[in-house]
């Protein structure tokens, strides 16, 4: 572009000007097992308010890839930034503070079995100094918001340990825990795997509201039904081709 010549380029959408929350710069990652999702010089950015969908095949396990994004495992090469800060060095207090701003729904084991579900949900907030009454209010808000007709079951389950609670209720409780402290980044690994279909609308509305207030969402969708949920735009898609993450997914209108 030269001088003040008028340009025909359209300005970037508003959301592309938003703050980068999670950035990948030339990241290579092999993972620990055969089902791990790999990255090969992967570069991408997830911005505030943006939702990125990744459609998983049945054999894919995103757990160690997500752990790498959270700085729990180092990538083989490249750099991962959360909120423009890296996971390098021994400033562990900063790393734990950064992780406390990220909500995560786990694929697989997600609970401390020796605690009740209520204690599990409150654990991170209590540890990070959220007042008990505030934490109680936030949790109650998300229970009401997400549980629908499962409300009574969820309230009953809160007093129990995870091992005796049915998976559909555990799935709801995972979402409540991940959303309760208003995360800047929400990473969902197959969140709807055990959830009742009648609660999908509550889930979509909750995600959209969080995004409207600035939360970036990385959604590892477990099957095509999950992939077709109608989220508010902008929604981006990344693909997994031959087990390797790729940004060349379709973008929803």
């Amino acid at each position: 572009m030269t001088g003040n010549a008028p340009t025909t380029e359209t300005p970037p959408p508003q959301w592309e000007l938003a703050v980068p929350i999670l950035e990948f710069h030339e990241v290579s990652f092999k993972g620990a097992g055969e089902t791990s999702i790999r990255m090969n010089k992967f570069s991408a950015t997830i911005r505030s308010g943006e939702l990125v969908e990744v459609e998983l095949e049945r054999q894919h396990n995103p757990r160690d890839l997500v752990s790498m994004m959270l700085g729990l495992n180092p990538p083989d090469a490249g750099e991962v930034l959360y909120n423009r800060q890296d996971w390098l060095g021994i400033d562990y207090a900063r790393h734990f503070q950064m992780r406390s701003e990220i909500g995560r729904v786990f694929a697989g084991s997600a609970w401390i079995q020796s605690l009740t579900l209520r204690d599990n949900i409150h654990l991170a907030m209590r540890h990070h100094g959220v007042a008990e009454t505030d934490a109680e209010e936030k949790v109650e808000h998300w229970i009401q918001r997400l549980s629908g007709h499962q409300l009574a079951k969820v309230k009953w389950a809160l007093k129990k340990r995870p091992s005796v609670v049915e998976p559909s209720v555990l799935a709801l409780c995972q979402l409540i825990r991940a959303m309760a402290n208003h995360p800047r980044l929400l990473i969902l690994e197959r969140p709807l795997r055990f959830m009742l279909e009648s609660l999908y609308d509550n889930f979509v509305a909750a995600i959209d509201d969080l995004r409207a207030s600035g939360t970036a969402v990385l959604f590892f969708a477990g099957d095509r039904d999950e992939y077709r949920l109608e989220f508010r735009s902008p929604v981006s898609s990344w693909r997994i081709i031959n087990g390797t993450m790729n940004t060349n997914g379709r973008r929803r209108p």
């Binding site: 752990s67 729990l72 406390s100 990220i102 084991s109 401390i112 079995q113 020796s114 540890h127 990070h128």
Partner: protein
Amino acid sequence: MFRSSVLTLHLVRLAVARATGWAWHWTGSVGELFFDRFGRLSAIASVLWASLALASHPRSWTYAVRNVFSKQVLFTAVDAIPAALRFGGAVGVLLIVQAAMWIDAAGVSTDVIAPILWRSIVREIAPMLACLVVIGRSGIAISTELATMRANGEVEVIDSLGIDPMTFLVMPRVLAVMISVFCLAIITAVTMVVTGYAVGFMMDAIHASWNEFYGEIAGNFELSDLTFFLSKTMVAGGFAGAICCLEGVNARGSMTDVPRIASRAGIRALTAVFAVSAILSILFYNKILVFQFG
């Protein structure tokens, strides 16, 4: 002649090569063993140091950590009191019977035997018994719990929630074990003395009244006893706690490995407690530490 000397030279070379190879192999094995032991010791020392450093920061003591600590103290110290009483009572009787035998055999009076008994109880037997109770009841349970958490991916969950596993899982447990060993050692020592006296008096092995017996013990109490007792219980307890936590957190593999890890943790903690007790005793009896305070 020439051929035989060449053959001899060849045999000598072969022997030297074999000897050198064996020497290298042996040196390598010794070196490996040394580095392995050194690495393990430094890991234990690091866990102990990190636990104490974290415990000294008030901000480490969040609600969740306080909760873990209080539960661990309840399980390791309070719930173990009956076991400590049983152990203390039984060993107290054994000791007093032995003492009565020596009084009869050597023809000495209670005032000669009482200080020896008291010292051996406070300096050696009570701390050791308390360590045995704590490792048997709680140390193995701690390593089992942590290894199970590791195998189940619960440690990863804690990490992902932004909670330092060292602060949340290890520090409160190590500290609880240290405090529990100290408290249980006091309970064990008192039980041993009281039971020993009661049984000895009933068997007519002790002729002194309780006031005389207690006065003899109290009169022999020195600052060095307290220093020895405190340092031995705290250091041995710290080592036991750190080893059990370390074995659990470092667990690799699946749930089927957990029992093996737990029994290994118990044996290693016991070995460390005996070694630490022996080293501290050597240091104290050689007048390196205690008598500088006295």
